[in-house]
């Protein structure tokens, strides 16, 4: 009886704590989106109120949408992010498998070499990267961004995935070998499905810096046709610093694609985590 009550109280406390933190996480986003639909006076008079018929206004969005091509920016960001993540996951998992599964000369050295990239920000090499892209005629192409982001994401992917691959039981792989599976089949059919949760985690961590990056789009692909959402919204906001309606609308427009992407993506992540936990 009393045990049931304490567990009830504990669950209640957990919910209170989680709701409190959820509010902290969501409030700034809510505040921005709610105020982007209000008239200038209402933004200042009642910042916390949701828009009502009297205070509703789309003036900010009108200002922002008159300039620039948000759909084009969004497409660029999606192409760059999705292709980079796919390459990072495939190449990263393959390399992680080689490092965690086989003993060969130079294994440790190779692991350290690949791990170097976790600690060195690829940005430190920007000047030489730009020189290289100019030389290969890749400036102002999405390919340049994809190459940079694949290189940037690989070290962390290899590092995390090999941590997880060490937890895959050796018995399973050896059973596969006895059954005559090739090393490639063991990797693609036995190991990859088992580390799916780790892959989902790596995908999220790879995606964030790519989607959010301002630096390389600005330097490698600043052309109108190759601008990403982050670069596009940064330029918007820079233009409208004193126009609060426009700033809040530009921010909301920049948040919106992330929200959509996340709603699609988080399902996959949750399915990945719950489906094939490594056990």
């Amino acid at each position: 009886m009393s045990k049931a009550r304490t567990s009830f109280a504990r669950t209640g406390a957990v919910h209170v704590a989680l709701i409190a933190y959820t509010l902290v996480a969501l409030f700034p986003v809510f505040l921005t989106i709610a105020n982007s639909f209000k008239s200038r006076n209402a933004i200042f008079r009642e910042p916390l109120a949701i828009p009502t018929p009297e205070t509703f206004s789309l003036i900010g969005y009108e200002t922002v949408l008159k300039q620039g091509d948000f759909i084009g920016y969004f497409q660029n960001s999606v192409v760059v992010t999705v292709v980079s993540i796919a390459l990072v996951l495939l190449f990263g998992a393959m390399a992680a498998f080689a490092l965690s599964e086989y003993r060969f000369r130079g294994n440790t050295l190779m692991g350290l070499y690949l791990a170097l990239g976790i600690m060195i920000p690829i940005r430190l090499g920007t000047v030489a990267i730009l020189q290289g892209m100019v030389a290969t005629n890749l400036v102002n192409t999405l390919t340049a961004l994809i190459l940079v982001y694949t290189a940037q994401g690989l070290p962390l992917a290899v590092f995390i995935l090999s941590e997880f691959m060490r937890t895959v039981s050796d018995d399973l792989k050896n059973a596969g070998r006895i059954d005559g599976l090739s090393e490639y089949a063991i990797f693609f059919r036995l190991v990859l499905p088992l580390i799916r949760p780790a892959m989902a985690t790596v995908a999220v961590f790879t995606m964030i810096p790519i989607w959010n990056d301002l630096w390389f789009p600005l330097i490698l692909a600043p052309a109108e046709t190759t601008k990403t959402v982050t670069l596009g919204s940064q330029i918007f906001i820079g233009q409208f610093v004193t126009n609060w309606n426009a700033v809040l609308s530009a921010l909301s427009l920049a948040i919106f694609p992330v929200l959509v992407l996340y709603v699609i993506f988080s399902r996959q992540l949750i399915r990945g985590i719950t489906a094939g936990a490594v056990k």
Binding site: L18, A115, Y262
Partner: protein
Amino acid sequence: MKPRETTLEVGELKRPRRWHILVFLLPALIVYTAVMILPLIETLRQSFYNTVDGQYAFVGLGNFKVLFGDPRWAADFWNALRNNFVFFLIHMAVQNPIGIALAAMLSIPKLRFSAFYRTAIFLPTLLSFVIVGFIWKLILSPIWGVAPYLMDLVWLKWLFAPWLGRPDSALIAVSLISVWQYVGIPMMLIYAALLNIPDEVIEAAELDGVTGWSQFWKIKLPLVLPAIGIVSILTFVGNFNAFDLIYTVQGALAGPDGSTDILGTLLYRTFFGFQLQLGDRSMGATIAAIMFLIILAGVSLYLFVIQRRMRRYQF
């Protein structure tokens, strides 16, 4: 790939070559080396070069002597380094404990709405620095008055100050904004690690009467220590590369009065120039080299001391 294989065929005579290892490694290796390592080496090389009498020449450690010897450079550098350590310590002290606590709560079996909480709390991590920086600038702005209004609701209005504008609080404020944004990463990594603890281990603990708090401290936390180690080193590296948020919130000068200047912003100003100051490629490369050494030291500490001491459990 093919030509490479034929050149290596000589070795095959001695013992069977395990080609699959090469095939697994090669794609990652090529992209990584060509786009990341070679440009980085080239940049580091430039830290030993400078323009002397109009000639681009090797100057040895000359650039480093200027950085540590010239009072103007040295003051900026030590200021940035100290701020960077404060930035990192705030992350370790605030972000990671919150992340662990959230992960522990989310991993409670059969917790209702846990998918919703997880989704919501991770959301800020997905927003770009541009968005986060501008949103918090607006919220903390005394002109809009959202922050003082909210604090008034809990009778704390007297505590409010334009934190971002004051040299003694700006760095803490920026660090906390960064914590707000990135708490999702430790949460997710540790959450995944907690889910990977086998049920048998938990069941055995419960049979022995180890439940609730003591189960968390004695069973789960030790088992997720490797994940916490990864989180810590990622935080260290991330913080010593940080640049974007401070650039968005406080500008390239990292004001007020350089109080939020960290190595990333110092590198940016030096490398690319700012306002009247001209960009200096060689000094920029020098600062990049110092950042490289700091990060190298931290990661070596993790790899060779901390990770070695951690026990690995195979289930």
